[in-house]
């Protein structure tokens, strides 16, 4: 089903937004408020991202899916903390490219990847992942 006009315009908004969030001032704002600077479009602090670890039971041999991850948040923190394998999905390709850079910067590029996909039509077989994380995605 093609997206509604409203949904399509919101997607265009996010594609444009992720292209801008890499700027120095935008990263400074993110660092001051959220404690990180992955080029985020959201409200999840480091403390709030870390809180998800209590529920996800992650470890190096488990596979985490972060849906609507943008530039890889909070999945990058969860995978960096736990050693798990990470797949991030979202729609804007520029955001996912940014996520790959974040993974490389954290030294976890070999166990992390991105897939361009809408959360309502994920291209994975059942039971591919052991845990799922999300932030400000579901409706």
């Amino acid at each position: 089903m093609p997206p509604s006009r409203g949904k399509q315009s919101e997607r265009e908004f996010f594609v444009g937004r992720y292209g801008r969030l890499q700027s120095g001032p935008a990263r400074q704002v993110e660092r001051e408020v959220l404690g990180h600077e992955v080029g985020l479009n959201g409200f999840t602090t480091i403390e709030q991202a870390s809180a998800l670890l209590d529920f996800l039971e992650l470890c190096p041999d488990r596979r985490l899916l972060d849906v609507g991850a943008g530039r890889g948040w909070p999945g990058s923190l969860l995978a960096d903390s736990s050693g798990c394998q990470l797949t991030c999905t979202d729609i804007p390709l520029n955001a996912l490219a940014g996520a790959k850079q974040v993974f490389a910067d954290l030294g976890m590029g070999a166990r992390s990847g991105v897939v361009a996909a809408d959360v309502v039509e994920l291209p994975f077989r059942s039971a591919t992942f052991d845990a799922v994380a999300h932030a400000d995605v579901f409706c």
Binding site: K7, R20, S23, F43, T44, Q48, A131, V132, V137
Partner: protein, 111 residues
């Protein structure tokens, strides 16, 4: 599965729903209780914690930080983008203060 959901409170009036629609053009805004959303999707809820206070604090802090860096942000993004981003953040803050927007941490398991 665990994460954060921005949502409207359960049981909003039609007028309040209209106010949300006008105020907050968020694509990823859940309608009503995240517990009901999760259970309808076939999950069992492990916990659902209200984090709206933190949400408000963060949104307000983002607005203030963007005001501190206004000149730099305008120089990089342009006036239209800066003003639009500020309007969106103000709208979210207003929605929270009017009791129309909440944020929850929800953890669920299958079945």
């Amino acid at each position: 599965m665990a994460g954060y959901i921005v949502h409207t409170p359960a049981g909003l009036s039609a007028a309040a729903e209209q106010r949300v629609e006008e105020l907050v053009p968020m694509d990823a805004l859940a309608d009503g209780s995240p517990v009901e959303l999760a259970e309808r999707a076939g999950f069992s809820v492990v916990t659902c914690d209200d984090v709206t206070d933190q949400f408000r604090t963060t949104c307000d802090a983002i607005l203030r930080a963007r005001e501190r860096h206004e000149a730099e942000l305008r120089a990089v993004d342009g006036d239209e983008v800066y003003d639009d981003d500020q309007r969106r953040k103000v709208a979210v803050l207003t929605g929270i203060d009017e009791g129309l927007l909440e944020r929850s941490l929800i953890a669920v398991v299958k079945g």
